[in-house]
């Protein structure tokens, strides 16, 4: 509607179609290499067992080894591993990726 004036330039004939409003549908996904969290085995696009809502409420976190986990899962893991936590996947020292 906003650019109905410009539409005349496109149409070779007398007809023009204007998209006034386009409501699209998309799904989001975590841009991670793996599908599921190595700790809880739940899908990244889902959420960890303790959470109810996926997405912002249950984010992913990458370690310096580039392995991703649910934030809540890896925190639990890190807190239970003293003094030094290792990545559950590759056993390297766990460090959060900056």
């Amino acid at each position: 509607m906003a650019a109905s004036a410009s539409s005349t330039k496109v149409s070779t004939n007398s007809t023009a179609s204007d998209f006034c409003r386009w409501h699209a549908v998309a799904s989001w996904t975590w841009d991670a290499q793996d599908e599921t969290c190595g700790i809880c085995r739940m899908a990244f696009d889902g959420c960890c067992p303790d959470c109810k809502l996926p997405g912002d409420d249950c984010p992913l976190i990458w370690g310096s080894c580039n392995h991703a986990f649910h934030l809540h899962c890896i925190l639990k893991w890190v807190n239970s591993q003293t003094p030094q936590a290792h990545c559950p996947m590759c056993r390297r020292e766990w460090q959060f990726k900056g």
């Binding site: 906003a2 650019a3 004939n13 007809t15 989001w28 975590w30 889902g46 996926p54 912002d56």
Partner: protein, 889 residues
């Protein structure tokens, strides 16, 4: 016979007789016979009496006493038969034809009344005269005896015996010659009188209503005794009533003639007929008012008054008449009715009242049961009728009748192919509500509901309709009772709150005393109760549970709701989900949070989408990008909104590839990039075939607005550059298979925007219609605006329906069974469940994934596992409760 009996009895007398005395005896016998005849034929004239007495004395002295009596009775019977009875019946010859009786003619009525009165009077006087004669005979005999021996008198017992013998004779003569139509005549007579009386009472009542209004309340509380007192009150004017007296006379006469039971039958059936008519008149097809009280009132006012007056009259008259003989029916007025003035209502009257009320209850109950289907159809309005029915049933206890008749009505009227599922469900709910009133334990509801449930299970759209009804107010049934906009769920919730409040009270009061009271109030279940269904306290009627019971499990219901919710949400072009949130909250109350988790996430996605959408728009504004650069086709990021879903929690969504117009495609990827910027490291995957597009078509002479699917929008946008396409080319351009294109393009053809032509090659060709052809299909002129959601038309759904999913699941289950060697997997699962007791689906899945790596490896998705477990549950090896799997014991 006379000879023989006399020789038998008077053998000793005969011995001492000589010729002379025999002659003497013969003479006096003949004279006696003549006198008797004369006496009987005299018609009330007692001039022959002295003669007669003299003869009797002579014969008595000869010892022929029994012979005299015998003869006298015989001759009396003969006379009565000849004169009294035949004359009496002749009065009614005119009414032999029942058709005459049916005529409701006032004159006729009056005539009959007169005839009856006259006939009865005549007959009674005949009888009285004969009784007098009999008395005379008794006197004569008495005197004879006194002369003979001083001590021996004619005893009372003998005298009574004689009179009852006479009564019996009269009765048997009348009965023997009873014309068949006489009971009808009587009934007709009483009916006429009662109607007259009823009309009279009605006017009386109207007059007195004003006076009684004040103490009306008292009457209700003090119950029957008070009612009777009131009756006494009115008896004064009723007792003196001529009408009642006339009826009383008739009844008394009939009674004296031995027609006690016949008269009673007649007026009883007349009363019942009248009562029935009254009930029908009051109740009829009107369900919005309670009629029970007014019927009871009427019983008090008319038939009971009548009976009271009648019994009082008969009672009074009886005290100075000889008691009526003949067998008494159990309901015959008791002599005690004479004592009604002492305060206690006469027993007969109470019995009558009970009998009449029972009859009224039964009549009303039958009437209501026959109409129960209609009553339930307009249930909330018809609750007074239900209340009436409840009271009636409490009284009569004929619940089975209700169940049988209602089931028959349901089968005949509701459970047919013609009835829509929504209607059936509405009726089901109304039935539950209505019957809950009648029968709080739900025993009969169980029986009635079963056929409906059975039938609904056979319908494919049941679940869908249930969900719609639960969540969408009146559930697409505009003709239904008008609580529009109020979903069943809301209503259930209100009920629930009420129930909770009351149950809270129960808890508070649960001390020993309360427990004792509760225990005392315990009542056994009705006999019809199914002992397998648990105790009554557990069988509290829960509408939702009963509805879920149709489907079998709440999981199916929740699943269906999720699919419908997804459909609804995906078609939203704004983010307004308030009503959905409300519904979800209600569903959570009933089904538990855990089962509604996914739906909650779906709604949350919408809320998040709105926020993200605003966020993205805000960043664009901040960067203040030159809008026109992108808006090649009049569309900027401003006009693009997106619903971003967490696909894991949505039902499977049909993802079809689609080429959308390049500019829009560009916009979408811009949008996705912005999203990625804001929400790193998350990214968007567009589902290009979903969504809603509002577009405007501009022609030379008109502008049309549409709201369509992206596919439709892509199709029509192709015609912007090129006005004519073959279907094959167009399909390639849009990126969909030809058959789908052909199906979808009909939308535009139907709208008159495109025209279709078939080419020689068999390919379809579509051309843009420049000039509006007035065919009435569009019905829109210049600048007109047409808002239509194209999706509705072709019934395409973006979400795989539950049926599809089920089908898929079943095939998955089947194939899983084969490939995975079911026993092995099952063994694993059984073993796990034995160890852990119960496990959730996810846990089983993950455990299998971790440990089941041998041969065959576990490589199934969560959904596949779920359907496999579902199969095991169906085979009753496992049990699923609240999302946890158990071993079935």
């Amino acid at each position: 016979m006379e000879e023989s009996s006399s020789s038998m009895c008077n053998f000793s007398v005969l011995e001492s007789m000589n010729e002379k005395s025999i002659g003497e005896m013969e003479d006096s016998w003949n004279a006696f016979c003549l006198a008797t005849e004369a006496l009987h034929g005299a018609d009330g004239d007692l001039s022959f009496a002295s003669d007669f007495v003299a003869h009797v004395r002579v014969l008595c002295s000869l010892g022929l006493e029994s012979l005299i009596v015998e003869h006298f009775l015989c001759s009396m019977e003969e006379t009565f038969e000849k004169n009294g009875a035949s004359k009496f019946w002749k009065h009614f010859d005119a009414y032999t034809n029942p058709a005459v009786l049916e005529m409701d003619d006032a004159d006729q009525q009056q005539e009959l009344q007169d005839v009856l009165h006259r006939a009865l009077e005549e007959l009674s006087s005949d009888k009285q005269y004969q009784e007098k004669c009999l008395l005379m005979l008794v006197h004569a005999l008495d005197m004879c005896r006194q002369i003979k021996s001083k001590e021996q008198t004619y005893s009372d017992a003998e005298r009574n015996h004689l009179f009852s013998k006479y009564q019996l004779t009269v009765f048997s003569v009348l009965m023997a010659s009873l014309p068949r139509h006489f009971p009808d005549v009587l009934q007709w007579y009483f009916k006429g009188r009662l109607e007259e009386l009823s009309a009279m009472m009605a006017t009386n009542c109207e007059n007195e209503n004003g006076l009684q209004e004040n103490d009306g309340m008292d009457l209700d509380y003090k119950g029957r005794e008070m009612d009777i007192d009131e009756t006494h009150h009115q008896i004064a004017n009723l007792g003196n009533n001529k009408l009642i007296r006339n009826i009383g006379v008739v009844v008394r006469d009939l009674r004296n003639l031995g027609f006690t039971s016949m008269a009673e039958d007649a007026y009883a059936s007349a009363i019942f007929l009248l009562l029935k008519a009254k009930v029908h008149e009051l109740a009829g097809d009107e369900f919005r008012f309670s009629v029970l009280e007014s019927i009871k009132g009427w019983i008090q006012a008319v038939p009971l008054q009548f009976l009271h007056a009648l019994l009082a009259y008969l009672g009074d008259s009886k005290s100075n008449e000889s008691p009526a003989s003949g067998q008494k029916s159990p309901l015959a007025s008791h002599p005690s009715s004479r004592y009604y003035r002492t305060g206690t209502p006469p027993e007969g009257l109470v019995r009558w009242q009970l009998r009449l009320e029972y009859f009224a209850y039964e009549t009303l109950q039958d009437l209501r049961i026959a109409k129960l289907f209609e009553i339930i159809v307009d249930y909330p309005d018809s609750s007074p009728a239900i209340e009436d029915l409840k009271q009636c049933l409490e009284y009569t206890g004929q619940h089975t009748k209700l169940v049988d008749s209602f089931i028959a009505a349901l089968k005949y009227r509701l459970l047919t192919a013609g009835a829509s599922t929504t209607d059936i469900l509405h009726q089901y709910v109304s039935t539950i509500k209505a019957l809950r009133t009648i029968d709080p334990a739900g025993v009969f509801l169980e029986a009635v509901g079963e056929p409906i449930r059975e039938y609904l299970r056979g319908r494919k759209d049941t679940i869908k309709c249930i969900v719609t009804m639960l969540t969408d107010g009146a559930g697409g049934n505009p003709s239904g009772p008008g609580n529009t906009g109020d979903s069943l769920l809301e209503e259930l919730n209100r009920d629930e709150e009420n129930q909770e409040n009351s149950s809270l009270d129960d808890d508070v009061n649960t001390d020993d005393k309360q427990t004792w009271i509760n225990a005392q109030n315990w009542e056994p279940d009705p006999v019809e109760a199914d002992p397998l269904k648990g105790g009554r306290h557990r069988r509290k009627v829960d509408i939702l549970a009963m509805i879920v019971g149709i489907i079998g499990s709440k999981d199916q219901l929740v699943n269906e709701y999720r699919v419908m919710l997804a459909e609804k949400l995906l078609n939203k072009s704004d983010y307004d989900i308030d009503s959905e949130i409300r519904t979800l909250e209600l569903l959570k109350i009933h089904f538990g949070e855990s089962s509604m988790q996914k739906c909650e996430i779906m709604l949350n996605d919408l809320i998040d989408s709105k926020r993200t959408n605003t966020n993205i728009k805000a960043t664009i504004k901040q960067q203040s990008q030159p809008v026109p650069d992108i808006g090649d086709e009049g569309l900027s990021l401003e006009d693009l909104n997106a619903t971003i879903i967490s696909s894991n929690f949505w039902p499977p969504i049909q993802d079809e590839p689609l080429n959308i117009p390049g500019a829009v495609d560009q916009l979408l990827s811009d949008y996705a990039n912005k999203f990625n910027e804001i929400k790193t490291p998350r990214k968007l995957l567009w589902k290009k075939n979903l969504g809603t597009v509002k577009l405007e078509l501009q022609f030379e002479d008109r502008t049309l607005q549409f709201s369509v699917t992206p596919l439709h929008a892509s199709i029509i946008s192709q015609f912007q550059d090129q006005t004519s396409w073959t279907s094959k080319d167009l399909a390639a351009a849009v990126g969909v298979p030809v058959d789908i294109l052909n199906r979808r393009i009909y939308f535009w053809i139907n709208k008159g925007i495109l025209a279709e032509s078939v080419q020689d090659s068999g390919d379809h060709k579509f051309t843009l219609v420049d000039v509006l052809v007035e065919d009435g299909r569009t019905g829109v002129n210049n600048g007109g605006c047409e808002e239509l959601l194209a999706r509705d038309e072709d019934g395409e759904s973006s979400v795989a329906s539950v049926e599809d999913q089920l089908r898929k699941e079943m095939t998955v289950y089947e194939s899983t069974k084969i490939v995975m060697k079911k026993q092995i997997l099952q063994k694993f699962i059984t073993g796990m469940l034995t160890n852990f007791g119960s496990m959730a689906l996810d846990r089983i899945h993950n455990t299998l994934k971790m440990f089941c790596i041998g041969d065959p490896p576990y490589d199934k998705s969560l959904q596949q596992l779920q359907s496999f477990l579902g199969g095991l549950v169906a085979e009753e090896r496992l049990e699923l409760r609240d999302g946890m799997y158990f071993l079935k014991k």
